[in-house]
C-alpha cells in the first residue's frame, strides 16, 4: 500500500532546536525541512515542493517578513506562518500587509495550537491548490466548449450553404 506523499513544511529559525522541536512534533504527519537562515530556506524551496513555510521573525541576516515577501512571487500558493518571541504590533502589521502570512504565532506556542495552525495551513493550501486546479479545469472545459461551439457553428454554416433557407 502506497501512502499519499506527506505535505512538505519548511521551518526556518536560526535556533536549530526550534526547528528540531517542530520536526519532532510534526514529522509523522508532514515532511519537515529545516533551514537556519533565509539563504538555506530559499535553496530548500527550490529543491522541494513546499506547501507550508514557517519562519521566525528575527534572524541575523534578514527578517522573516522580508524573506516571505521575497519568496511570495515564486511560490504564491505556499501558505506562510510567522512566529516570533518578540511580538510588537508593527512586525505583525508588516507580516500581514507585506508577507501575506496566513497565521501569526508567538513564542512559546502551545503544541496543540501549533498543530492546529499547521493543519489549518494545510487545509488552506489544499483549498488554494484545489481552487487553482478547478480553475484550470474550468478554463480547459471552457476552451473545449468554445472549440465545440466553433465546430457546431462551422457545421451549421456549411449546412446553411448546402441548404439555403427558402
Amino acid at each position: 500500500m502506497t501512502m499519499p506523499p506527506k505535505p512538505c513544511l519548511l521551518v526556518v529559525d536560526d535556533e536549530p532546536e526550534v526547528c528540531n522541536s517542530v520536526y519532532h512534533l510534526l514529522h509523522r504527519t508532514y515532511e519537515i525541512l529545516r533551514a537556519h537562515s533565509a539563504a538555506e530556506a530559499v535553496a530548500l524551496m527550490e529543491q522541494h515542493d513546499v506547501q507550508i513555510i514557517m519562519t521566525d521573525q528575527r534572524m541575523p541576516d534578514v527578517t522573516g517578513v522580508e524573506m516571505l515577501t521575497r519568496l511570495k512571487p515564486s511560490y504564491p500558493e505556499a501558505v506562510r506562518i510567522l512566529f516570533t518571541g518578540f511580538a510588537d504590533i508593527n512586525s505583525v502589521i508588516a507580516a500581514i500587509n507585506q508577507g501575506h502570512v496566513f497565521r501569526y504565532l508567538s513564542k512559546p506556542w502551545q503544541p496543540e495550537e501549533l498543530e492546529a495552525v499547521v493543519a489549518d495551513a494545510l487545509a488552506e493550501y489544499n483549498r488554494i491548490v484545489q481552487h487553482t486546479r478547478e480553475l484550470a479545469e474550468c478554463r480547459q472545459t471552457n476552451a473545449q466548449l468554445k472549440a465545440d461551439l466553433h465546430a457546431v457553428q462551422t457545421e451549421l454554416a456549411r449546412l446553411n450553404r448546402e441548404n439555403p433557407p427558402k
Binding site: 535556533e15 532546536e17 526550534v18 534572524m59 512559546p108 503544541p111 501549533l114
Partner: protein, 758 residues
C-alpha cells in the same frame, strides 16, 4: 500695622502726597505771610511819614508865620515910630513958626537938628502945600523951588493930609540906601501950611531881619505895597536891581488878603520856597512881611524821614526777601527731603507690603520667633502645615511645633546663639522633623536666618514641608525602578521565549511519544506470558529490568510527571508573558472608554469566584465620566485591582466580603476607587506592593507583577495609583487618570527599547 497709621507726614486720602501741590501751597503761604507782615509795617511807615511830614510842614508854616507876624509887627511899629517922629517934629512951634514965616534959614536949622538927631532920617525937607520944596537939609541948591507934587508921597499926603509912608525907593546919593519918604502935614491953626518930608532909612529893619533864622536857610523879608523889596537880610539891595514881588501870584494874592502861606519859585533866590505872609499895617496901605525857606531845606526832615523810612523799608524788604528766600530754600530743601522721604516711605511701604505679601502668600510656612524662642509670626502656610491657627501659637514657644526629642537641642542651640551668636543652624538649611497639631510628625526643611534689630534679634524660619516631596520622590523612584525593570524584562522575555518555545514543544512531543511507548509496552506485556514460556531467560531479564526501573511506578506516574512539567513550563510561559505585559511591548491605541462598562467587563471574568466566596460588589450608579485611554490596558488594571481585592477578602477567611467601587471626577481627572474589607496591607509591606515580583500570595497564585504592570500602565496614561490601607479594615486603591488621556500613546515606543539577542 496699618500702613496709614503712625506716619509723621500727611497723606492724601489715597495715601499719596503731591509734592508740587505742597510746593505751591507752601510758597503761597510763605509769600502771604511775608506780605501780611510787611503790609502793616509799610502802612505804619507810610502813616508815620504822612504824620511826620504834616507835622514838619505845620512846624515850618508855624515858624514862618510866627517870624512873618513878628517881623510885620516890628516893622509896623518902627514905621509908626518914624511917622510919630515926623508928626512930633512937624508940630514943633519953632518949625511951624519958621514955616509960617517962610524962614528958610530957621527951618533948615530945625531940619538939621532932625537929621542929626536920628540916624534913620537921611534927608529932610519942607514943601509948601502945593509941593514946592523950599527948605531942605542937607541942602541941595538944585532942589530949591522944585515942584515935587508928582511924587508918590505928595499924592498920598495931599489926598487926605494925613501922614503918609511912601513906597520904597533908593536914594540917588551915595551910598544909595533904601528909603521911604515919610510925609506929614505942617499945620498952623488947623491950616496946612506945608509938608514935612523925610527920607527914612530902612537899614535898621534889615539889621533886625538878619538874625532871624528859619530852619537852616530860611529868612524874613519885607516888601512894600507895590511889591518892592523893603528889607532883605541877605541881599545887598543897593547893588541889585529890585524885584517886583507883586508879580508873584501868591504874594499879590496875599497882599489882597488871600492865603497866608504859599509855595513859589523865588525869583531872586531862584529856589522854590515855602512862605508865610503877614501884613505890615501902615495905615493907608499895607506892606507884607514874607517869611520863607527853601522848600527842600524846610522839608529836608521829611525827605530824611522818607529816606530813612525808605531805607528802613528797603532793609526790611531785603530782610523779608532774605527770609523768604531762606524759607524758600529751606522749603525747597524740605521739599526735596520731603520728596525723598516720601519716596523712601513709599518704597518702604511697597517693600513692607511686598514682604508682608511674600510672607502671607508664601506657599511655604514662615515663622518668626523672638530670642526667647516665642513665636511672633505664623503665616497662613504655616497655619495650614502645622494645623494651628495663628492665635494658638503666637507668644508660645517654638517647641510646640517640634517632636519632643528635638526640644533639648532647640533650647541649647537657642541659648548658645543668644550668648555667643554662634549657631549650627543659622544660615543653613537643615532637614528636621515637625509636629502637627494632630500629633503627626512630618519631615521638613528649615532655613533659619536671623534678623538683627537694634534692640533685639528675631529668628526667621522658612520651612518646607517635605512630606509631599518625599511622596513624590518615592513615586519617581518607583517609576524609575519600574522603567529599568521593564527594559530588563523586555530583553529577558525575548531571550527566554526562544528556548521556552522548543522546551514546551519538546515536552509535548515527549509526552505524546511516552504515551505511545507506554502503549507499546502494554502490547509487549500482553506478549510476556508467551515469551516466558518460550524463553525463560529473556523473560526473567525483562522482569528483573522492570523491577529495577520500577516499571509499575513509571507507568503510573510518568504521565502525571509529564503533565506537571508541562504545567510548570506553562507557568514559565505565563510569567514571561506577564513580563512582556509589564514591559508593555504590546501597546493599544487610545479610545474613549466608559469606566462602568470596563469595570463590569472585568467583574464578569471573576464573577464565578466572587459568587463562591459570597463577595458582594457595589458598583457606582449614574452617568460616569468617560476617559481617553487604551481600553485593553485599563481593563487589565481594573481586573488586577478587582482580583487583588477579591483575593484579599479570600485571605481574611471570613467567608464573605464586600467590594465597593466608586468613580468620581476631580478637576480634569477621574478617580476610580476600589475598596475591599479584607485584612488590609501591613505598613511594612505597603511601600513594596508596586515592586515587580513582590507578592504576599501563596506560591503559584501570583506572579507579583499585577500591581507593577498596573502601575506602569496608569503611569503611561499620565495618571497614578494611590493606596490607603488600614490593617484589619481593608484597603482602598485609587486609580487616577486624566480625563483627556496623555495625548499620544506611542505605538512605536516599544521599538525604542533595546532588545538583547533574539
Amino acid at each position: 500695622m496699618n500702613s496709614n497709621e503712625g506716619e509723621p507726614w500727611n497723606t492724601h486720602p489715597d495715601g499719596r502726597v503731591s509734592a508740587s501741590q505742597w510746593d505751591l501751597r507752601t510758597t503761597f503761604t510763605w509769600g502771604l505771610l511775608v506780605f501780611a507782615a510787611l503790609l502793616p509795617i509799610a502802612l505804619l511807615g507810610l502813616y508815620s511819614f504822612q504824620v511826620t511830614a504834616r507835622a514838619v510842614r505845620e512846624l515850618v508854616q508855624t515858624d514862618n508865620q510866627t517870624a512873618a507876624r513878628i517881623t510885620a509887627e516890628l516893622v509896623s511899629h518902627d514905621i509908626e515910630f518914624s511917622v510919630s517922629l515926623a508928626e512930633s517934629f512937624a508940630a514943633l512951634p519953632d518949625l511951624v513958626e519958621g514955616v509960617e514965616r517962610r524962614d528958610e534959614q530957621a527951618v533948615r536949622r530945625q531940619l538939621r537938628a532932625l537929621v542929626r538927631s536920628y540916624a534913620r532920617v537921611d534927608r529932610a525937607y519942607v514943601t509948601d502945600p502945593e509941593g514946592r520944596l523950599w527948605a531942605d537939609f542937607p541942602h541941595a541948591p538944585e532942589s530949591q523951588g522944585r515942584n515935587l507934587a508928582d511924587l508918590d508921597w505928595y499924592r498920598g499926603l495931599s489926598r487926605t493930609w494925613t501922614p503918609y509912608v511912601s513906597e520904597v525907593y533908593q536914594r540917588n546919593a551915595e551910598p544909595k540906601p533904601l528909603v521911604v519918604a515919610i510925609a506929614v502935614p505942617i499945620r498952623h491953626e488947623q491950616r496946612v501950611i506945608g509938608a514935612l518930608v523925610y527920607q527914612c532909612r530902612l537899614d535898621e529893619i534889615t539889621a533886625w531881619l538878619k538874625p532871624i533864622n528859619l530852619g537852616h536857610a530860611g529868612y524874613v523879608f519885607v516888601i512894600d505895597h507895590t511889591g518892592t523889596l523893603a528889607a532883605h537880610p541877605h541881599l545887598n539891595l543897593r547893588t541889585r536891581a529890585y524885584e517886583d514881588y507883586a508879580r508873584l501870584a501868591p504874594i499879590s494874592r496875599a497882599m489882597r488878603g488871600g492865603p497866608r502861606t504859599a509855595e513859589y519859585l523865588d525869583p531872586l533866590a531862584r529856589r522854590t520856597m515855602i512862605a508865610s505872609f503877614a501884613p505890615v499895617r501902615l495905615g493907608a496901605h499895607d506892606w507884607l512881611a514874607v517869611a520863607q525857606q527853601p522848600i527842600e531845606d524846610a522839608y529836608a526832615p521829611i525827605q530824611r524821614l522818607g529816606l530813612h523810612i525808605s531805607v528802613a523799608a528797603g532793609i526790611l524788604s531785603l530782610v523779608a526777601l532774605a527770609v523768604v528766600i531762606t524759607l524758600g530754600r529751606i522749603s525747597g530743601r524740605n521739599r526735596r527731603l520731603f520728596r525723598e522721604l516720601e519716596m523712601r516711605a513709599a518704597e518702604l511701604r511697597i517693600a513692607e507690603r511686598r514682604s508682608r505679601q511674600l510672607i502671607e502668600e508664601s506657599l511655604d510656612p514662615i515663622i518668626v520667633a523672638d530670642q526667647q524662642g516665642n513665636i511672633s509670626l505664623f503665616n497662613p502656610a504655616a497655619q495650614k502645615t502645622f494645623g494651628y491657627t495663628a492665635q494658638e501659637v503666637l507668644g508660645h514657644s517654638l517647641t510646640m511645633l517640634m517632636p519632643p526629642e528635638f526640644h533639648n537641642a532647640h533650647e541649647r542651640g537657642l541659648q548658645r546663639y543668644v550668648e555667643t551668636r554662634e549657631s549650627r543652624l543659622v544660615g543653613h538649611t537643615v532637614a528636621v522633623n515637625g509636629l502637627r497639631k494632630n500629633g503627626e510628625i512630618f519631615p521638613l526643611e528649615l532655613s533659619l536666618s536671623v534678623l538683627g534689630l537694634p534692640d533685639r534679634i528675631l529668628f526667621l524660619g522658612a520651612i518646607r514641608d517635605l512630606t509631599e516631596r518625599y511622596r513624590m520622590q518615592a513615586r519617581v523612584d518607583q517609576s524609575e525602578k519600574l522603567a529599568s525593570l521593564s527594559l530588563l524584562s523586555a530583553g529577558m522575555a525575548h531571550e527566554v521565549n526562544n528556548p521556552l518555545a522548543y522546551v514546551a514543544n519538546n515536552l509535548a512531543v515527549i509526552e505524546r511519544d511516552t504515551n505511545n511507548l507506554v502503549r507499546l509496552l502494554a502490547a509487549y506485556e500482553q506478549a510476556l506470558p508467551a515469551l516466558k514460556s518460550a524463553s525463560c531467560k529473556l523473560a526473567e531479564e525483562i522482569d528483573q529490568l522492570a523491577e529495577e526501573i520500577d516499571l509499575d511506578y513509571l507507568k503510573e506516574n510518568l504521565p502525571a510527571i509529564l503533565k506537571s512539567t508541562r504545567q510548570g513550563v506553562k507557568r514559565i510561559a505565563d510569567i514571561v508573558q506577564s513580563l512582556r505585559n509589564f514591559a508593555r511591548l504590546d501597546r493599544g491605541s487610545s479610545d474613549h472608554i466608559n469606566l462602568l462598562e470596563a469595570i463590569q467587563t472585568s467583574l464578569e471574568m471573576i464573577q464565578g469566584r466572587l459568587n463562591r466566596r459570597n463577595i458582594t460588589v457595589e458598583l457606582p450608579r449614574g452617568d460616569l465620566p468617560t476617559v481617553i485611554c487604551a481600553p485593553v490596558q485599563v481593563n487589565q488594571v481594573l481586573l488586577n485591582l478587582l482580583v487583588n481585592a477579591m483575593q484579599a477578602i479570600e485571605a481574611s477567611t471570613r467567608g464573605s466580603g464586600r467590594i465597593e467601587v466608586h468613580v468620581w471626577k476631580a478637576g480634569n481627572e477621574v478617580v476610580v476607587e476600589i475598596a475591599d474589607d479584607g485584612p488590609g496591607i501591613p505598613a511594612d509591606v505597603l511601600p513594596r506592593i508596586f515592586d515587580p515580583f513582590f507578592t504576599t500570595k501563596a506560591v503559584g497564585e501570583g506572579t507579583g507583577l499585577g500591581l507593577s504592570i498596573s502601575h506602569g500602565i496608569v503611569t503611561d496614561h499620565g495618571g497614578r495609583i494611590e493606596v490607603d490601607s488600614t490593617p484589619g479594615l481593608g484597603s482602598r486603591f485609587r486609580v487616577i487618570l486624566p480625563v483627556a488621556g496623555k495625548g499620544t500613546l506611542d505605538d512605536n515606543a516599544a521599538q525604542t527599547l533595546p532588545v538583547g539577542g533574539r
